[in-house]
């Protein structure tokens, strides 16, 4: 029951040629099998530079629905809920409210988490100073000095909003369109709809920052899962370890030449089985073994930053030399875009600053600021930004009231779903603008609300997909990423 595309187009796998050759050779006397296997190794070695032999199956037949502005996506997911109040959404009037109770007409009975519901909602003004930057004059807090350099390439959406107030449901909603796990993720939908551009790498790759101290922000597999779509559409997590993809490394004692020989044996017997049973699944399986073999070279090649010049590391900052860091992952994201990976998603955890906001939030900015900006610069100078949509944001924002003592250095902010800020760049996004606004307390959206589902509709639109028409039938229903409530493409931010 695999995808029937494979069944229909059951082609001769590439290795079939090798097998034929091997049959031929084995007829001739004096050729040792080991030598042949080595010969096969050469012809079978895959690398990123190698031209494609055959196109991977492309996604759904009707897609794209219209011309795409972006071919690829990099989603810089900031998990935990970064504070829009410190980082982007300047509210100069808040000082005079410092320590006073948030007016009821602003709060409007908004629900709180159990962490602060018994506490008075006393206003805590931003802990940062802001600067109007670039030609656009967008406001960026002082904790992100590097981002100011690329501000005119960015589009800030200050009126993002969601319905979920706790992390797991909010992140699930942010990435799958629904708060309960079980739906396909954004990246999964895109991979399902558009298929792959690269036959040596998966369509959808995920990287999680390796933190200097252990994170307490869990990141669940379903955030990049395929839900009810076939599992081949789920994000493949690249880990910062010797084995970036699970089970990628050959086991001890089975080095590449032996593995190649074994693989040929498998293909030969599987092919024989196919001739006996006629099941096209077997042909697909032969091909998937070859893809797995190629991934064993292409992934380490992708992962190996030793071919990057010194200037790359200078651009992305000192932390980029630490494998698995956010900065190193940003370099990886650029390499993936270069190799045609459709959807790349980074996760950086620990933006959940209930207390000690002014020390911890600064630390997260330090982890990410330079590298995020560098990624924009790097993509731009390589001419890749036009085709690549870059997104930065978390699952919700943070509230204007202080958590703990509002005037103590230990003060923090609780979760806030009603408004938060994201920025986007590249692939069809209008650069140098700010869209939407919040009220004087950065509490409610004052104009042009962008719900999470509007964000999804817009991302799909940029990829040439009509969100109403990208559907999958499951349990008798045509599911779509944007769900049943109306979603709109935010046309005003499109270039």
């Amino acid at each position: 029951m695999s995808n029937s595309t494979n069944k229909q187009n059951a082609r001769q796998p590439e290795s079939m040629l090798d097998i034929t050759r091997r049959h031929f050779l084995s007829q001739s006397a004096g050729v040792s099998l080991g030598a042949m296997a080595l010969g096969l190794l050469e012809s079978g070695t895959a690398s990123a530079q190698q031209p494609e032999v055959a196109k991977q199956p492309i996604g759904l037949p009707a897609l794209p629905h219209f011309a795409a502005k972006a071919k690829q996506v990099i989603f810089l997911t900031q998990s935990g809920g970064p504070s829009q109040i410190e980082l982007f959404d300047e509210k100069p009037g808040l000082e005079k409210w410092a320590g006073k109770e948030l007016p009821d007409e602003i709060r409007q009975g908004q629900r709180l988490t159990t962490m602060t519901k018994n506490q008075k909602q006393l206003v805590m003004p931003a802990r940062t100073k802001f600067e109007k930057c670039g030609q656009s004059g967008a406001t960026i807090g002082e904790w992100m000095p590097h981002l100011k350099k690329v501000v005119d390439d960015l589009c800030f959406v200050k009126s993002m909003t969601t319905d979920q107030i706790n992390h797991a449901p909010a992140m699930t909603k942010y990435l799958t369109g629904h708060q309960i796990p079980g739906r396909p993720s954004l990246g999964g939908w895109v991979s399902y709809g558009l298929g792959s551009e690269n036959r040596n790498l998966p369509d959808y790759l995920v990287m999680i920052s390796k933190m200097k101290r252990p994170s307490d922000q869990p990141l669940y597999d379903h955030y990049w899962g395929s839900g009810f779509l076939p599992t081949r559409y789920q994000g493949v997590k690249l880990r910062s370890s010797k084995e970036p993809v699970l089970y990628l490394r050959d086991p001890d004692g089975l080095p590449r030449p032996v593995r190649r020989g074994m693989l040929d044996g498998i293909s030969e017997l599987n092919q024989m089985r196919f001739e006996e049973t006629g099941d096209p699944e077997i042909t697909t399986r032969i091909r998937q073994y070859e893809m797995a073999w190629r991934m064993q070279s292409s992934i380490p090649e992708l992962n190996d930053l030793s071919d990057e010049p010194e200037s790359t590391f200078e651009l992305y900052g000192p932390d980029s030399r630490r494998p698995g860091s956010y900065a190193a992952n940003c370099i990886m994201a650029r390499r993936m875009v270069e190799r045609g990976v459709r959807f790349t998603q980074l996760f950086h955890p620990d933006w959940d600053h209930h207390s000690r906001l002014s020390s911890w939030c600064v630390a997260r900015c330090r982890d990410t600021d330079q590298a995020s900006a560098a990624l924009i610069i790097d993509l731009k100078q390589r001419g890749l930004l036009d085709d690549t949509l870059v997104l930065w944001g978390g699952e919700f924002g943070r509230g204007v009231a202080g958590q703990g003592e509002w005037d103590s250095p230990d003060g923090g902010r609780d979760h806030h779903p009603r408004c938060f800020t994201m920025w986007m760049a590249g692939g069809g996004i209008k650069p140098g603008i700010t869209y939407g606004a919040t009220d004087d307390f950065s509490y409610n959206v004052a104009e042009n609300p962008v719900h999470v589902r509007d964000l999804h509709a817009t991302i799909l639109h940029l990829l040439g997909i009509d969100h109403q028409r990208l559907t999958h039938r499951y349990q008798g229903l045509d599911f779509r990423l944007t769900g049943v409530e109306p979603a709109r493409v935010v046309k005003d931010i499109l270039a």
Binding site: M1, N3, S4, N6, K7, S26, L33, G34, T114, N166, H167, A168, P181, G182, P214, S215, D216, P218, L219, Y220, D221, L229, P230, T231, E243, L246, Y247, L248, R249, P251, D252, G253, P257, V258, R259, G261, M262, G265, I266, L269, M272, R273, E276, T277, G278, E281, I282, R285, Q288, Y289, M291, A292, Q296, Q468, R469, H472, R473, Q475, G476, L477
Partner: protein, 1031 residues
């Protein structure tokens, strides 16, 4: 998925070919309702509230309604039927479905709708909502008449005749035997079984084998595993903290039920309402854990009210999918768009499941109602059983000899009884300070000490005197105070809980020199799970005693410190008590407490020694003067305090603990327990939001009216009646839905492909009469599950060869017509299990706590927020348990199973999926599990067969694939073996590395080169398509 689109096309093509080939009669259920549901119901369906149009097409009365002088459908009169006009309208503003709806009718669909009207527009209720009747067996051609073995085959053959196809030849016996073994038990037939069958090449042998397979625990485990997916069983709570839970005795309950062939109606009733059965047994209450396998939120900010609702909704959804095959969840926020389930009815079903007094949040192991329960499949190992028997014997012996030690004790005790030893003596506080953390202790008129000030990690130092010569114990009473945090109110912390981590007691003499006193034992009136009072004297500064719990209320909590030796506090000297609070939690210091002391030789928390009157009077007499009764009572009493007895008791406790650790003891299982008294009211939740109940009306319990059968249409009044209703003889869905899933297990696809949806958007059955026949048969057999499996497996249909011909691939790529036997990739559980089985490593233990087999290092890192979430790999034979026992963590599912398409167990999962991906190839090629298995397969072959290479290759192939290899296969394997041999001869260090993979020991007597080369061959065979395919 393009696959589905294709499938829909194929099925509709098939349907059309039927209506064309046979009669031209349009069938409403088969041809018309799917079109209406798919293309029209979104705006003209049952969800009237959320539709712009008032016109509906979802029932007979609606379709034929008078729309004000005109009609959508006039039977037999196309020109008077507005539906015809609208679907054929040229004018875009008239056209249905509207252009901008994204829905479109094909020409074929328009023709069908017209033909239906012309033919008289016969209406039928949705097939799945009508009670199944046993259909007559169809008539067959003579050839097919010869082919059939049981009634199943009549229906299959009849359909094949219609399509002009014939069934395939029977599969070869060894293939068939392997197929049956895999689909019933998830295991391969053993070599011995294979040989037996080869000798008796006849159907009888196969039939006997099916019966044997049904009697194995392997069968029961396989069925239980399929049930676990449906029941969203997992070993953690899910959500942010993803805590460990211990519901696995329920998993074993399911295995036992399948093993004993519990009738499916009883199986249903016990799981849905076992707690409500009259005089319910512990096993029946355990069964009700089915509906407690939901996720459970313990995240810091989570609201109880919200997640209580989520839990109950989960029960409604899972129960609906598993028994009704309906997607009731759609009706949570609005009336169902396609099926006759209104939003109100959804919350009426909700009302059966919301009455168990649960809290909604908190860890699963404490999420009441819970029961302490051991696994019903547990059988103690002989070693443990002996250990326990020995310990118990020692205890009996100690009790027998206790009499000899009694008199000495009696003499000493009677002396103390005469003193006022039994009272709690007040202490006089000389000084009380907070020696670390700030704040101060203020003495109250009650003698209590009250902490003032905001303090973290406080240490108290209290010096006191007491008027007594033989102090045996000190008591600390923690006292509530109104100003403390609720609910506990024993400390100035958020929840009023404290953690006392360390206690030290010293005697300070006149010269102010302190000498420490040894505390023998600490006893508490209450302790929170994992925070026993023994922690305060364990020398570990961070472990502590705490008193929180899900049901706690304000009240006094006491701890008793029993001294090793009685101490006398003479004038001028004093006692010094140091209390330490070194926990990580803010403000968790005892907020108010009082000290007292006792001279009681048998100190007890309650104060007075509970010496029974008879014992008391007996003690005052010498042995000869005691009555017989006094003597017996005295001996009985003494046995409870004798040191030797105590020691023996400790040993028994130790063995029992070991038994527990190995999973034979009791653990906390979340179960259902219906509350006494009036049920908790259920309300209509606006938009499905927990905080938007419509409190104007408490909804009566009820199931969707469309599903009610019988004349009086009586609604079940409680959960037990609900369960009985599900398995009533007239129920239209339960039998069909279960039969269909069993069919899916054996053929890879159900007769209804949408296993989870029998509603209007579900697929029509490929063989409706067969599904009905099997369902009626199932009910009338007394819901006999094994009989159902047996019927399917012994049919000629199942016994066909699975060989695919090019013509058949084109006509029926997914084998829905069953002109051949099943062929599909097995799931990740089976793939690993049969590799272990071939290697001889498979550990046959059934049931017990979950295990942690090999898993890539660091996989849990992204979700571990505490030390207790590190993956701790099992050791020894626990590494080789069946995959169904692998610890199922919701946040990070076991990678092997997930890569092979297992559901995530977040919610119920009844449909199987079998994709074909490169990641699967990577698992089979590189996972340690399969390399180690290969090494053992090689070892078995090399150690147990003669030296003939070809015979060895044959054995190897048999072990892994479960059938015999043909000549060309053997030739290829032989070539590969030669290649591997030459490689490892040249690279002996590689051979050593390969043979070192995995924890298990290697047979060192085997030569390394040979063993490595054979390991490589075995690994190759384990990777073959046939190794992982049921065919």
């Amino acid at each position: 998925m393009r696959h589905n689109i294709l499938l829909i096309t194929v099925v509709s093509l098939l349907m059309i070919s039927v209506s064309q080939a046979g009669d031209d009669q349009v069938d409403f259920n088969r041809d018309i309702r799917p079109i209406l549901s798919d293309k029209c119901f979104h705006c003209h369906g049952p969800d009237a509230k959320n539709q712009d149009s008032e016109f509906r097409l979802d029932s007979e009365s609606n379709i034929f309604a008078d729309l004000g002088g005109y009609f959508a459908v006039v039977p037999g009169k196309l020109n008077e039927s507005v539906l015809h006009d609208r679907i054929r309208a040229e004018d875009e503003s008239e056209q249905m479905p509207p252009i901008d709806s994204g829905r479109k009718l094909s020409d074929r669909e328009k023709d069908l709708l017209d033909a239906w009207i012309t033919q008289g527009a016969t209406y039928q209720s949705h097939w799945a909502f009508i009670k199944p009747e046993r259909p007559k067996l169809p008539k067959l051609t003579a050839a097919n008449q010869k082919w059939v073995r049981n009634p199943i085959d009549y229906f299959i053959a009849a359909r094949l005749e219609k399509e002009g196809l014939s069934p395939s030849k029977p599969a070869e016996i060894e293939t068939l035997q392997r197929r049956a073994s895999l689909s019933l038990t998830g295991l391969q037939p053993t070599i011995q079984q294979l040989k037996q069958s080869s000798n008796k090449y006849e159907s009888k042998a196969y039939e006997i084998e099916v019966v044997r397979l049904l009697s194995t625990t392997g069968y029961a485990e396989r069925q239980a595993l399929r049930w676990l997916d449906a029941a969203r069983y997992a070993d953690t709570d899910g959500y942010q903290t993803d805590n460990n839970r211990t519901n696995w005795p329920w998993r074993d309950w399911a295995t036992k039920a399948f093993h004993e062939n519990m009738p499916f109606d009883q199986f249903t009733i016990e799981q849905l309402a076992g707690d409500m059965l009259p005089e319910a047994t512990a096993d029946q209450i355990l069964a009700s854990a089915f509906n407690r396998n939901h996720r459970q939120n313990a995240e810091g900010g989570a609201l109880a009210a919200e997640f209580l609702i989520e839990n109950v909704i989960d029960r409604v959804e899972v129960t609906s999918t598993v028994w009704l095959g309906l997607t009731a969840g759609c009706a949570r926020c609005h009336d169902h768009k396609y099926d006759p389930i209104s939003q109100r009815e959804f919350y009426q079903m909700f009302a059966y499941f919301n009455n168990i007094g649960e809290k909604g949040i908190g860890k699963g192991v404490q999420a009441n109602p819970v029961m302490q329960m051991s696994s019903p499949m547990n059988q103690l190992t002989p070693e443990l059983a002996k250990k326990l028997a020995d310990a118990k014997q020692a205890l009996t012996d100690a009790k027998t000899t206790a009499g000899q030690r009694l008199e000495a004790w009696a003499k000493q005790t009677v002396k103390q009884l005469d003193s006022k030893a039994e009272d709690w003596l007040p202490v006089e506080v000389a000084s009380a300070t907070v020696s670390r953390g700030g704040g101060k202790l203020v003495e109250q008129s009650s003698g209590a000490l009250l902490l003032e000030g905001k303090v973290d990690s406080a240490q108290y130092q209290v010096n006191f005197t007491v008027d007594g010569s033989m102090i045996t114990a000190i008591r600390i009473e923690a006292l509530p105070h109104d100003s403390f945090g609720k609910p506990r109110q024993l400390a100035r912390s958020v929840n009023g809980n404290f953690v006392l981590t360390d206690v030290k007691l010293s005697l300070v003499n006149e010269k102010k020199t302190a000498s420490p006193l040894k505390i023998k034992q600490a006893v508490a009136s209450y302790a929170q799970d994992n925070y026993p009072v023994s922690n305060i004297i364990d020398g570990n500064a961070t472990s502590g005693w705490a008193v929180y719990g899900s049901q706690t209320k304000p009240g006094v909590v006491s701890a008793l410190l029993i001294l090793e030796e009685p101490v006398s506090v003479s004038a001028g000297s004093s006692l010094q008590l140091q209390l330490d609070h070194k926990s990580q939690y803010a403000g968790h210091n005892i907020g108010q407490f009082r000290l007292s002391a006792t001279e009681n030789p048998l100190p007890k928390l309650s104060g007075k020694t509970e010496l029974p009157t008879l014992v008391r009077s007996a003690l005052r007499k010498i042995a000869e003067d005691r009555t017989a009764k006094e003597q017996t009572e005295l001996e009985k009493y003494y046995a409870t305090i004798d040191a030797k007895v105590a020691k023996a008791q400790t040993q028994v406790a130790k063995v029992e603990k070991e038994i527990n650790t190995q999973g034979y003891g009791k653990v906390s299982v979340m179960v259902m327990q219906e509350r006494e008294g009036d049920p908790v009211p259920a309300y209509f939740l606006n938009r499905g939001q927990y905080d938007e109940p419509d409190k104007s009306e408490a909804l009566p319990r009820g199931v969707p009216v469309a599903l009610l059968t019988g004349e009086e249409k009586k609604q079940p009044s409680n959960r037990l009646e609900f369960a009985n209703w599900l398995v009533s003889k007239d129920h239209p869905l339960t039998a069909r839905v279960y039969v269909n899933r069993v069919w899916q297990d054996h053929f890879g696809t159900g007769l209804v492909e949408t296993t989870e949806d029998f509603g209007l958007q579900g697929e029509m059955p490929s063989h409706p009469d067969l599904l009905d026949w099997l369902s009626v048969e199932f009910i009338e057999s007394g819901w006999d599950v094994k009989a159902l499996h047996q019927l399917i497996l012994t049919s000629a249909t199942y016994r066909q060869s699975s060989k695919v011909t090019p013509g058949l691939t084109k006509l029926d790529p997914n084998n829905r017509l069953l002109a051949r036997g099943p062929r599909f990739r097995m799931d990740g559980f089976v793939i690993r299990d049969i590799a272990l089985q071939a290697s001889g490593l498979l550990n046959p233990r059934v049931g017990g706590p979950p295990v942690n087999p090999y898993q890539p290092v660091g996989l849990w890192n992204a979700v571990s927020s505490g030390a207790n979430t590190k993956y701790k790999q099992s050791s020894g034979s626990a590494l080789y348990r069946k995959s169904m026992y692998t610890y199922w963590k919701r946040a990070v599912n076991p990678p092997r199973q997930i890569i092979f398409d297992a559901g995530g167990r977040e919610t119920c999962d009844v449909r199987t999926n079998a994709t074909n991906t490169p990641l699967q190839a990577l698992v089979l090629m590189n996972d340690k599990t399969f390399v180690e298995a290969a090494r053992h397969v090689a070892q078995q072959v090399l150690a147990n067969t003669d030296k003939d290479t070809s015979a060895r290759l044959e054995t190897l192939y048999q072990r892994v694939i479960g059938r015999n290899a043909d000549k060309p296969t053997l030739a290829i394997l032989d070539r590969n073996l030669t290649f591997f041999l030459s490689h490892f001869e040249n690279q002996p260090e590689e051979a050593a590395k390969l043979l070192a993979v995995g924890e298990s020991a290697r047979d060192e007597s085997l030569p390394t080169t040979e063993h490595a080369a054979w390991t490589a061959v075995a690994h190759l065979v384990l990777n073959l398509d046939e190794a992982i395919t049921l065919e």
